[in-house]
Amino acid sequence: MRLRATHVTRYLYAEPVSTCHTETRLAPRIRAGQIPMGHRFEVTPTPSFSATRVDYFGNQVISFSIEQPHRELVISSECEAAVHPAPPPNLSLSPAWEEVRDQVAGRATQDAFDAFQFVFESPLIRRGPEFAGYATECFEPGRRFLEGVNQLSEKIFKQFRYDTKATTVATPVEEALKSRSGVCQDFAHVMIACLRSLNLPARYVSGYIRSIAGVTGAEASHAWLSVWCPVFGWQDFDPTNKVMPQGDHITLAWGRDYSDVAPVKGVALGGGEQTIRVSVEVTEATQ
């Protein structure tokens, strides 16, 4: 299936902004099950400088700066990707979670080595006994790793309230766990914190989800997570929707947490009060 996403971010300022430096991660990534089919990126007013690079995690970054006074900044990004839903893996065939933990710690293979850096704390995600405690029932001794992960995803889905007012980008992950509420970003951060607290590798994925009936998080950019398992490789889980992505998700970027992969981040000089309006629409593209 081909998905098309249209993502418009609009900043309105009460006073003129004289300069603004911005960095975006809005181009779809190549990955198993996803082939990017084009990306159109437009900024008004016209940037006086822009550059493209690939970051440490392999994400494409477009950065730009605007050096004329402006009261409005519009970033529109439109992309298409062919997504091929892989057959759902048989979770019960995955190794015991302790084995995954030990393989990664022992960096047995190149892939395990690459997964190892996603075991540690990161700028927005602490590890701690409260997270390990929350995950314990999903990871009893000998439990199949992916089954445990899936159960944790369902547990969060069931116990957490999706609430756009409960948290902000600055809400610490401990807070989200305590209040059992938040948005997709908090769901992903909490689940990653739980897994890492058990020394299991998990990374944060940023992207979109198709707006279909019963789906949460389609009105803005979406986030979920990915875990690494020997033989199975990286497997995605979306605790906001209690699913393993099956062709309705577009992956833009991944990293340790939101701070590595924010779709848009920037620093503006001046501007006073700012208002942000974001619209995201994901539809099936006609071939």
């Binding site: 550059a51 700028p123 590595d260 779709p263 981040k265 000089l269």
Partner: protein
């Protein structure tokens, strides 16, 4: 146990009674109580000069520390952040052969860490091949992912490197810590040298001590070789986190010494992917940045987003090779003590050599064997974080009880890779001079390496730090320790050397001295204003005190005019509560008042401190003295009019000296201009207030009041020489208001102001006069058109109106200049998350 008396008493011993302590290596005395050869010259000199001679010399040294304002800041003390730099007059002396080993080891380590950083921020072969455990890199907050793949100019991550060295009882040197982020201390080492050579010039000369200047020449040359363009005459800035940083003094000192412009993040901006310095004349391209700010604060776009110290877009500019930043962003990653156990292997692997200087015994808990050792020997170890940015204090196992130890072990076991344990070295001792005696104290030396060609050059010397007592092995200036100059002896007399040397190619003649940032212009402007404000207050108070003892008919008039002036200037309330004398004396001792004289003097000192890289050392010393004169006045009870008058006379002389220094010594650039604009505005304002209060409307001018005003305005002699008659209000107004030749008159100030403002950048290319120029012109015209006879009339309505207008327009002018030139107020902020 005391050592046996020496067989033949050495001179040092018999006169100075220095006794080393058992169990440590003493730098001066051999175990048989003989003096080590490199100390011979110094010990003979000490013997010759005796305690008293030393005390005299050191008094001079201490004064130099105070007068030069050599300070460091204490983070934990919000009240009084800057403390005098604790320096001990006795240097640490190291012999040639010993130094050669240290030198080679420091070069090797600098090279090694440079290679390690190049690998970690590139292919990460060391991690993949198991030469370095990834647990020491991936979780380290100093591993800045955005810096990965950024190749610094010339592949140089470390332009400067420093190692802290210590000596164990067997005489062996060990490395205690490595500094790769933004090593501090080289500037203090240089200051220590300047002071110590003043205290011991003779010994310094005859000892053939190696000089430090070459090191700083290498520093400049190496940096110049790294800049992407303008190699011959690059614009280099030294980026400081600001005046509250622990070592701000050093930042200002080094900027001045090396000829770089001292900037804060807010002074820089990135445009079209290049770094610029915001100056009054516009944006000037920056070719290289010496950063004394931790790397993660340097760019709020890509690094720590909560940093208000950073420059958005800086990392991208570095990534594109448009600016050289030293040390490279990300260099803090090499500072982990956890690397210790792996360095011998890394050194063999990367450099093909054996490690020349061992690290103090260190166990990284991320491995099972070392963790077990640490658990078994906790009582004799020091536990430290493996990632220094965690800023935890070291924990001494010996100081913990059973329960605390097991709690510590639990947290170590939970995340073992976060901890290292180190053996505590029984640090060597060196004599410290205190209370007329020499006492042994522990020491650590920081040695600096700087890039030079393809390798590194080592400063022949370093920053020696000493413990606060013999009982502590903690050597830290923050916790009460001190410092010493470090002498490395050479073969023969050192050649004199200066940093101003001929360039390889002729340079274009440059008239610009330093680029004036708008922040510096702002500070200069206010320095001018406060200096003038202080002078006016001092003059009024001084003339009041003289009046109090006057025994003639006009005494009462004079006093009441003076009191009115002091109230108008804001030093007294209008209600008289005590005798005039007591009230006036209280002004000198007004430490509590936020707007009192003392507060103004503190402002002067603070501004001068912020401008240390711009004003001359002499000018700084003058203003520093002024602050000291008023900071320790006689206690309130003892304030007698006589001592107070001395204090005020001193202050007038000091302020005049500053004024003279500014007129005679400062280059006539924008910096001088802003300082003078500040002075002129303030002097005009003060004079207006003095005239307004001294000549109140609806009263005939009392001759006692006129006399007081003339005296405050320092114009008595001029008046008397012009007019042999008695005092007349109109003649006085002519002299103090409209006479453009009298440097105290308001017109004189306004003429200067108009000239200055016409020279400023905004006036230069404008078709229409900018607002501040219009205000200055209209002020001058108003005064030039004034009719002093009319103004002097008793009802004084015209007079009041003119004074009112002068005050409000001068205030407006100050605001307009602030808006036009100093408005760096617009703060950058994060865009809301999408």
């Amino acid at each position: 146990m005391q050592r046996m008396p020496p067989p033949s008493p050495t001179l040092l011993d018999s006169q100075w009674r220095y006794e080393a302590s058992e169990g440590f290596y003493d730098e001066v005395l051999e175990p048989e109580y003989r003096i080590r050869p490199q100390w011979a010259t110094l010990s003979e000199a000490l013997t010759a000069m005796g305690h008293q001679g030393m005390a005299r010399r050191w008094q001079q040294g201490r004064r130099m520390v105070r007068d030069n304002g050599i300070t460091y800041n204490v983070y934990s003390d919000p009240e009084n952040t800057s403390r005098p730099w604790p320096l001990d007059p006795i240097p640490l002396i190291l012999g040639q052969d010993e130094w050669k080993q240290i030198e080679a080891a420091v070069v090797q380590r600098a090279t090694l860490f440079n290679s390690i950083l190049a690998d970690l921020y590139g292919p990460q072969r060391l991690l993949r091949e198991g030469m370095l455990p990834p647990e020491l890199v991936f979780p380290n907050p100093a591993f800045l992912r955005p810096c990965w793949g950024v190749e610094p100019p010339g592949g140089v991550f470390l332009h400067m490197y420093a190692a802290d060295l210590a000596r164990s009882p067997d005489g062996q040197w060990w490395v205690l810590a490595d500094r790769t982020q933004a090593p501090s201390g080289a500037g203090y080492a240089l200051e220590n040298r300047l002071v110590t050579t003043r205290v011991l010039p003779d010994v310094f000369r005859t000892s053939h001590v190696r000089r430090l200047a070459h090191f700083f020449q290498s520093y400049r040359d190496a940096l110049q070789a790294l800049v992407p363009r303008n190699r011959e005459n690059p614009r280099i800035v030294l980026l400081t986190p600001g005046p509250y940083n622990e070592t701000y003094f050093e930042h200002a000192f080094l900027a001045r010494y090396l000829g770089y412009t001292l900037v804060e993040g807010g002074d820089l901006t990135v445009r079209e992917n290049r770094v610029f310095l915001k100056t009054l004349g516009g944006l000037l391209p920056v070719d290289a940045i010496v950063r004394r700010q931790d790397d993660y604060y340097c760019d709020p776009l890509e690094l720590r987003s909560d940093s208000i110290l950073g420059v958005p877009g800086l990392l991208q500019a570095a990534r594109s090779g448009n600016v050289a930043i030293v040390n490279a962003l990300g260099s803090g990653l090499a500072e982990s003590p956890g690397y210790a156990a792996f360095l011998p292997g890394l050194c063999r692997n990367l450099l093909g050599e054996e490690l020349k200087l061992p690290e103090v015994a260190t166990w990284w808990c991320g491995q099972e064997g070392p963790l077990k050792y640490v658990a078994d020997h906790l009582g004799s170890l020091v536990i430290k974080p493996a990632f220094p940015s965690a800023r935890q204090n070291p924990i001494f196992g010996a100081a913990l009880d059973e329960k605390e130890r097991s709690a510590l072990l639990d947290s170590v076991r939970a995340e073992p890779y976060r901890y290292v344990a180190q053996e505590q070295v029984a640090l060597s001792t060196v004599p410290v001079w205190a209370d007329g005696k020499l006492h042994p104290r522990h020491l650590v030396v920081r040695v600096f390496g700087v890039r030079s060609g393809d390798g590194y050059a080592v400063m022949p010397g370093g920053l020696t730090r000493i413990s606060s007592s013999l009982n502590t092995l903690v050597v830290s200036i923050q916790s009460g320790g001190g410092s010493k100059d470090t002498w490395v002896l050479g073969d023969g007399p050192a050649s004199p050397f200066t940093l101003l040397r001929p360039a390889a190619h002729p340079l274009d003649v440059s008239r610009a001295t330093f680029d004036l940032s708008s922040r510096a212009a702002d500070n200069l402007f206010w320095l001018g204003r406060y200096v003038e404000r202080v002078e006016a207050a001092v003059r009024v108070v001084r003339s009041m005190l003289a009046r109090v003892f006057q025994e003639d008919a006009t005494r009462a008039e004079g006093i009441s005019a003076g009191l009115a002036i002091l109230s108008a200037l804001g030093y007294l309330t209008t209600q008289r509560t005590a005798a005039a004398e007591a009230e006036v004396l209280a002004i000198i001792d007004s430490r509590e008042a936020a707007n009192g004289l003392i507060a103004h003097i503190h402002h002067v000192r603070r501004l001068a401190w912020l401008l240390r890289d711009r004003i001359s050392l002499d000018a700084w010393m003058i203003l520093n003295q002024l602050d000291q004169q008023f900071s320790s006045p006689p206690a309130a009870a003892e304030v007698s009019t006589g001592t107070s008058q001395d204090l005020l006379n001193h202050a007038i002389v000091t302020l005049s000296a500053f004024g003279g220094m500014v007129m005679e010594g400062m280059t006539r650039g924008d910096g001088w201009r802003f300082l003078d604009i500040g002075r002129r505005i303030e002097r005009a304002l003060q004079m207006t207030e003095i005239l307004r209060a001294g000549l109140p409307p609806e009263q005939p001018a009392a001759s006692g009041a006129l006399e007081t005003v003339l005296e405050i305005a320092d114009s008595t002699i001029t008046y008397r020489s012009r007019y042999l008659t008695s005092l007349h209000a109109d003649l006085m107004l002519d002299l103090l208001l409209v006479d453009e030749a009298n440097p105290r008159s308001i017109a004189f100030q306004l003429v200067r102001l108009r000239e200055h403002i016409d020279e400023l950048p905004a006036s230069q290319n404008a078709i229409r006069r900018p607002e501040e120029a219009r205000t200055a012109l209209s002020l001058l015209t108003a005064v030039q058109l004034a009719d002093v006879r009319e103004l002097a009339r008793h009802d004084g309505e015209l007079r009041a109106a003119l004074f009112e207008r002068l005050v409000s327009d001068l205030t407006l002018l100050s605001d307009q200049i602030t808006r036009a030139y100093f408005s760096h107020a617009a703060r950058s902020r994060q865009l809301a998350a999408s």
